[in-house]
C-alpha cells in the first residue's frame, strides 16, 4: 500500500512538472467544448439556388418567389442558360439548379400539366438529396396552390390529399447541440485518457528510467495500478470541465443524474487508459506507441457512432464497432443527457464497459514484463 502511495506521488509530480501536459488537460477540453458544438451541424438550410427561368411569366416568378419564402433556399444566381447555372455549381456559387422551361405557364393552363427541372450537386449526398427533396416538395405545393385557385369555382372536384405531420421525440426542435455536446465530451475523454497513457510507459523505456523500475520489488499489479489511477483522476477533471462549459455556455445539463454519468465514465476511462497502457507495453519507441494509439482513437471516434450513425455502416463494420468501448459510452451519454435514462435501463452497456475495463487492465498487467 505504501509502495502504491509513493508511486502515485511520483506520477503526479512528473505530470505536474511537465510544461505542456497540465495546461493541455485543462485547456484542450475547455476550448473544444466552447467551439465545436457550433460546428456540428447538418442543418440543410441556406442552400444556394440557381434559377434558370426561360418563361418569365407571372407563374414562373411566383414559383421562384415561393422557393425563397420557404427559408431553405437563397437565390445566388439567375442565369440565362442551364450551362451558365452549371458553371455556377462548378464554382460552388450554387448547390442546386431550378430550371423553368419556356411555355411553363402556357402548358400549365392549357394542358394542365408542366415539368420543371431540378439538378443538385450531390457530392454531399445528404445535402444534395434533402435539397432536391425540399425543392420538389415546394413545386408540388405550388401546383396545389394553382389547383386551389382554379378549382375554387368548382368545389365539387375535391382532390384527396394526405397531411403529413412530422414530430421529433426527445428533441422536438432538432437542436444539434444536444446531439453534439455529449459526443464532444466523449471525444475529449477518449483522447486525453487514451494518448497520455500510451506514451507513458514507452517513454520510461526510451529514457531508461524503466530499468530502475524493473529492479525494484514493486509488483506488476501495483505498478500498472499506479499508472492507471492518475489518468482516472485526469479523466474526471476533463469530464468535469466539460460539464461546466456545457452548463455555463450552452445551458445544457443532463436530463438524468450526473452520478450515472460518472459511474459509467469511471469504467470507460479505465478501459481506454488500460488500452493505452497495453499499447505502451508493446511499443518499442514513443513514435510506435503514438501511431498505434492514434489508429485506435481515430477508429473509435469515426466508427463508434459519435458523428455518423452506426446503423448505416456495413455489417462487418458494425461487428467491429461492437468491440469499441466508445460505442457503449456514447449510447449511455446520449441516453442520460437526452432521455434521462437511469442505470437500470443501461445494464447492457454497463456490463460491456466493465468487461472492457477488467480485460484491458488484466492485459496491461500481463503484457508488462520486468525484463528488457
Amino acid at each position: 500500500m505504501m509502495t502504491l502511495k509513493y508511486l502515485l506521488e511520483k506520477e503526479f509530480k512528473q505530470f505536474a512538472r511537465n510544461k505542456f501536459l497540465p495546461r493541455m488537460v485543462i485547456g484542450f477540453p475547455f476550448m473544444s467544448l466552447l467551439i465545436f458544438p457550433l460546428v456540428a451541424n447538418f442543418d440543410v438550410k441556406n442552400l444556394n439556388l440557381a434559377v434558370v427561368d426561360h418563361d418569365h411569366s407571372p407563374y414562373s416568378r411566383r414559383l421562384t418567389h415561393k422557393t425563397t419564402a420557404s427559408g431553405y433556399f437563397r437565390i445566388t444566381d439567375a442565369s440565362g442558360t442551364y450551362e451558365q447555372a452549371l458553371t455556377a455549381i462548378e464554382l460552388d456559387r450554387a448547390d442546386i439548379i431550378l430550371e423553368i422551361p419556356a411555355g411553363f405557364e402556357r402548358d400549365l393552363v392549357r394542358d394542365q400539366t408542366a415539368t420543371v427541372m431540378v439538378a443538385a450537386n450531390t457530392v454531399n449526398g445528404t445535402r444534395g438529396g434533402l435539397g432536391s427533396a425540399y425543392l420538389s416538395g415546394i413545386v408540388n405545393d405550388f401546383a396545389g396552390e394553382i389547383r386551389g385557385e382554379w378549382l375554387a369555382s368548382a368545389p365539387r372536384l375535391v382532390t384527396p390529399t394526405f397531411e403529413i405531420v412530422p414530430q421529433y421525440r426527445f428533441n422536438p426542435n432538432l437542436d444539434y447541440r444536444v446531439f453534439m455536446i455529449p459526443a464532444i465530451m466523449v471525444m475529449m475523454l477518449t483522447m486525453v485518457c487514451g494518448f497520455l497513457p500510451a506514451l507513458n510507459i514507452v517513454q520510461e523505456k526510451e529514457r531508461g528510467t524503466m530499468e530502475q523500475m524493473n529492479v525494484t520489488p514493486v509488483r506488476r499489479f501495483t505498478f500498472i495500478l499506479a499508472k492507471l489511477i492518475p489518468y482516472w483522476v485526469i479523466g474526471f477533471v476533463t469530464l468535469t470541465i466539460c460539464f461546466g462549459v456545457a452548463w455555463m455556455f450552452y445551458g445544457m445539463t443532463p436530463a438524468g443524474s450526473l452520478g450515472t454519468i460518472y459511474l459509467f465514465a469511471s469504467a470507460f476511462i479505465l478501459a481506454i487508459s488500460g488500452l493505452g497502457l497495453v499499447i505502451s507495453n508493446y511499443a518499442r519507441t514513443i513514435q510506435q506507441g503514438m501511431f498505434m494509439m492514434f489508429f485506435f482513437v481515430v477508429t473509435m471516434i469515426l466508427m463508434g457512432g459519435l458523428y455518423t450513425p452506426v446503423a448505416s455502416m456495413p455489417g462487418w463494420a458494425q461487428t467491429i464497432s461492437d468491440f469499441l468501448p466508445l460505442k457503449y459510452f456514447i449510447i449511455v451519454m446520449r441516453a442520460v443527457y437526452l432521455k434521462g435514462s437511469d442505470t437500470a435501463a443501461l445494464l447492457k452497456p454497463l456490463a460491456a464497459l466493465s468487461c472492457f475495463a477488467v480485460a484491458f487492465y488484466a492485459w496491461a498487467i500481463v503484457s508488462y514484463r520486468k525484463r528488457t
Binding site: 415539368t115 443538385a120 454531399n124 444534395g128 372536384l157 432538432l174 481515430v298 455518423t308 446503423a311 455502416m313
Partner: protein, 368 residues
C-alpha cells in the same frame, strides 16, 4: 550538395532500420482508409419503421407497403397503442413510427384530407430529419400517382437530376475527407519527432556543431518521409479506386500534384511542431492529438463548412485539410480542371512556404 546527400542517407538509414515503424507508416494509412471509407457515411439505409394503424384500410396498407418496398426502410414492429412509441425508441427497435389517423380512408373521402404523423427519434437530428424527408417523399409520390390516375388537373412534375453522385454514395463525400485527414496527421506525426528526438537523445549537439546549414537540416529530414508519404499516397489512391469504388473523374496528374503540395506542407508542419516542442511526447501529442480536432471538425470532412457560424467559417480557412479536401472533391469526384482549384493550390503552397520559413526562424543554432 554532397553534404546534403550524406545527410539524407543518414536520415534514410535511421528510419528504415526500424522495420516495425516503417511497416506501421506504410500500413496504417491503407488500413484506415479502407475502414473509414466503407464505414463513415451519413447515408440512412435500412431503418426499421414501426406502424400504428387504427384504421387498417386499403389506403393505409398500400402506404405501408410502399414504405416497406423502399430501400431506406425495413418493416418493423406493429404497434397496438400510441403509448408504445416511447418504448420503441428507448429500446431502439425503430427509428421512425408512422401513425395513421382513425378512419383514414373514410376521412379522405368526406373531408378530402387525412392525417399521417411521422414520429422520429430526434436524439440524432440528422438521421431523424433525413428519415422524415424520405418518408414524406415516398408518401407524396404515392399521393401524386393516385391523383394522376384519377385525372386531377394542374400537375407540375419535377424532373430531378443528381449531379456528380447519382447513386448518392456516402463514399464520394467522405473518401476525400478521410484522405485529407490521414495524410495530414500521419505526415505531421512522422516529422514532428525528427528534431525533438535529436534533442532528446542529445545528438542535436553534434548536428549543431557540424557545418550543415539549418535549411539543409530541415529539408534533409523531410526527404525520406516524403518518399514514404508518396508511397502512401499511391496506395491510398489505388485503394479508393479499386476497393472503395470511388473513381478519379478528373485529371490524375493534377490530383497528384495537389496531393504532393499538401504532403510537403504537412511534413513541414511536423518539422515546425518539432522545433517548438522540447520532447518527443509533447511533439507527438501536438501533432497527433491537438491537430486532430480541427482536422476532423473544421475541415469539412464530416460537417459542411457552409452551415457553420460565420466566425468558425473564417477559422476553418486556416485548417490546411479544408483546402485539400475541397480540391480533391472538385478534381477527383466532379472532374473539374485547374481553373476550379487555383485558389486551393495557391493557399496550400503559401501554407507550405510559411511552415518552412517559420521552422527556420524557430531553429536555434544553440541549445538552451
Amino acid at each position: 550538395m554532397r553534404q546534403f546527400f550524406a545527410f539524407v542517407v543518414k536520415e534514410f538509414r535511421h528510419i528504415f532500420r526500424d522495420r516495425t515503424t516503417t511497416a506501421i507508416l506504410l500500413g496504417l494509412p491503407v488500413v484506415m482508409l479502407t475502414l473509414f471509407g466503407f464505414a463513415i457515411t451519413t447515408e440512412v439505409r435500412n431503418t426499421r419503421f414501426a406502424v400504428y394503424d387504427p384504421s387498417n384500410d386499403d389506403t393505409t396498407r398500400a402506404i405501408v407497403e410502399r414504405l416497406a418496398a423502399n430501400e431506406y426502410f425495413i418493416r418493423g414492429p406493429v404497434l397496438t397503442d400510441p403509448s408504445q412509441i416511447q418504448g420503441v425508441f428507448q429500446r431502439g427497435e425503430a427509428g421512425l413510427v408512422v401513425v395513421f389517423s382513425r378512419d383514414f380512408q373514410q376521412k379522405m373521402a368526406t373531408d378530402g384530407t387525412a392525417q399521417i404523423q411521422l414520429v422520429a427519434d430526434g436524439s440524432d437530428p440528422n438521421t431523424s430529419r433525413t428519415l422524415v424527408v424520405y418518408a414524406t417523399g415516398v408518401i407524396s409520390a404515392f399521393a401524386l400517382e393516385r391523383m394522376q390516375a384519377s385525372g386531377v388537373p394542374f400537375m407540375i412534375s419535377s424532373e430531378v437530376r443528381l449531379l456528380y453522385n447519382p447513386s448518392m454514395k456516402g463514399a464520394y463525400n467522405f473518401v476525400p475527407g478521410t484522405m485529407g485527414m490521414i495524410l495530414l496527421l500521419i505526415c505531421a506525426m512522422m516529422t514532428s519527432i525528427s528534431i525533438a528526438r535529436e534533442k532528446e537523445t542529445g545528438t542535436m549537439e553534434v548536428l549543431l556543431v557540424s557545418p550543415v546549414r539549418p535549411l539543409q537540416v530541415i529539408l534533409a529530414k523531410t526527404v525520406p518521409y516524403f518518399v514514404i508519404s508518396v508511397i502512401d499516397l499511391a496506395t491510398i489512391l489505388l485503394m479508393s479506386v479499386y476497393i472503395l469504388d470511388v473513381p478519379i473523374v478528373g485529371s490524375v496528374p493534377l490530383l497528384v500534384g495537389i496531393a504532393l503540395i499538401y504532403i510537403f506542407m504537412a511534413l513541414a508542419m511536423g518539422i515546425l511542431i518539432s522545433s517548438v516542442a522540447n520532447s518527443q511526447s509533447t511533439a507527438l501529442l501536438m501533432s497527433g492529438m491537438v491537430l486532430m480536432l480541427p482536422v476532423i471538425m473544421l475541415s469539412g470532412m464530416i460537417f459542411p463548412i457552409e452551415t457553420m457560424p460565420r466566425a468558425l467559417q473564417w477559422l476553418a480557412q486556416i485548417v490546411p485539410a479544408r483546402w485539400f479536401i475541397s480540391a480533391v472533391r472538385k478534381v477527383m469526384i466532379r472532374g473539374l480542371g485547374f481553373d476550379a482549384v487555383k485558389n486551393e493550390i495557391a493557399v496550400l503552397s503559401a501554407m507550405a512556404l510559411f511552415m518552412i520559413a517559420a521552422s527556420l526562424r524557430r531553429h536555434r543554432t544553440r541549445l538552451e
